[in-house]
Amino acid sequence: MTMTLRALAGASLTVALMGTASAQTTITVATVNNGDMIRMQRLTPEFNALHPDIKVNWVTLEENVLRQRVTTDIASKGGQYDVLTIGNYEVPIWAKQGWLMPLENLGADYDQADLLPQVAQGLTVDGKLHAVPFYAESSMLMYRTDLLEKAGLKMPENPDWDFITDAAAKMTDKGAGIYGICLRGKAGWGENMAFLTSMNNSMGGAWFDMEWKPEFTGPEWKKTLDTYLKLMKEYGPPGSSSNGFNENLALFQTGKCGMWIDATVAASFISDPKESQVADKVGFAPSPVRKGGSNHGNWLWSWNLAIPATTSKAEAAKTFVAWATSPAYAKLVAEKDGIANVPPGTRTSLYKNPEYVKVAPFAEMTLTAIEAANTQKPSEKAVPYTGGQFVAIPEFQAIGTAVGQQFSAALAGSATADQALAAAQALTTREMTRAGYPKK
């Protein structure tokens, strides 16, 4: 009996010692639950085959939980994460705080010059990349070719809002459950405000003037909100004030929407016959402009991998980040899951690959949309900020969401457009004053 016990104890001790002998570096990667990230997680064994000394732990969280979680950890130097998935809104703000490690020398095969310049620019602070793009998206118009034809219309090369309104009216057939246009209505800085800020940019408007005074009482926002409310109330689906990206995606895929203006990444979902009932009837066009205008107000969003300055495993983290955003990773995905599934919007080479262009009918429009996005000068007016669908200041998350709630209320009918704009002006002025703007 005692013998057996001793033998057991000895065996387990040996096992324990063996465990420590082949010690690996374990890195923790925090990410969101989007298709491309899940694929990256699934391909981890391929990374391990190349780097057996690095073990990767995954923490997948809901976007807002992730943001809160990671902010707490970085701000308090908790050091729980070695690789972060963050948006291009956070990268410049966090980099300026000194929270992110600059990324240099990502390896001989990395080909940094291949990164799309518009995307890389948003991640560059003081001339250095502080995050590398995993995938990126802009916005565009997606529409049903069959419904447009039935309405007797032809999509112009650069549709304007008047055309959109006209087309929405003609495509709507409420009896058949078809709504001319589906747009985001759910309140949130990354939900309805992403769309409305872009739309307002296309109308020639801006969030702030050079003195950081909000512009909600100006004519552009009025025009934006009026057009939006008319489109949504007359030709939009019922209950649209709670529709976000996912809800509209579901509506479009089941044939309920004539047009939808949203993230370019949606194009691959609605053209996938496995998921979408209208896969063979979709067309793509640039985001609408105002009559005679040229600013599409395209947004630019990228999900990026960054390394927090608090990590103690910077080398291993860098190895992983370089792998996941390298041309070799794109090749790996193409081999395993088909080239259409390569994370979009980050590398020029992907869009030059004839194979990709063949399987992804939306590739050209996606690239055009990304290239047309101007994060350094989002508005036609002179503005003191950069951004696009957001204003790149730390206060924007809170203000954007509060304004989004006002506009969502106007859509739901519990406030008029003028009331919502006045409330937006008042609350933004208050928050900006409190935050100490204009900063000298």
């Binding site: 639950n33 989007n34 298709g35 923490v59 809901e62 939980v65 308090s76 908790g78 996912n246 995606l249």
Partner: protein
Amino acid sequence: MAREATKGHKAAVTFLAWGVALLIFFPILWTFLTSFKTEGEAINSHPSFLFFDWTLENYETVNQRSDYLAHFWNSVVISVGSTVLGLIIAVPAAWSMAFVPGKRTKDILMWMLSTKMLPAVGVLVPIYLLARDAGLLDTKTGLVIVLTMVNLPIIVWMLYTYFKEIPAEILEAARMDGATLSSEILYVLTPMAVPGIASTLLLNVILAWNESFWTLNLTAASAAPLTAFIASYSSPEGLFYAKLSAASTMAIAPIMILGWFSQKQLVRGLTFGAVK
């Protein structure tokens, strides 16, 4: 006549009780049903109740993608650990407050309760810093300690009210017979208060199991319980309701089964006094 009125009254109450119960249970039922739908079916604007193609693919995906058992084990350790630790502290505390109250006992009780009135996020940074310096971030030990402290006021209050109903004379009699303090608590008080302690225990296991603020904020990879498992299935881009429902169903199933088995004790402990 009177008898009939009672009958009608009874039927109405039964009907109402069933109505309320169904209303409360419906979201869980809906989650359960959604977990067997395809993603497309889950967001259908004309949802079907029972007549859809039942599929197990969501459970398959969830099991492939995450390590359910690891999260489950973390949840068990954290909820049971924090409850047991809480009881060890709370039984003597409640005993002293119930049987030898001092001048400030009422104030202490109120003060303990008042800590529950503070929004948790208000102390996130200090607790995070403490956990960081103690090396307790992303450890089960850290979570057991934090959840013990979070739930301690509730445990003490519940036990205090149960103990208050036990006649002090019984304990006095035990003392007269020569029982020491520890044997008085262990052999006289505890057996009498078993229903109360049992329901306190169960309620706290449930509270700790469902606690999502601290369990999400203080963990990363290794100590993440089922709350983190659920949180990983929500997505900003792409359809996720069916998979999220499958993950939720898997996360709540153990605690629901525990609840069913212990229903009697739970109801008895929550509604009756300690001594009947």
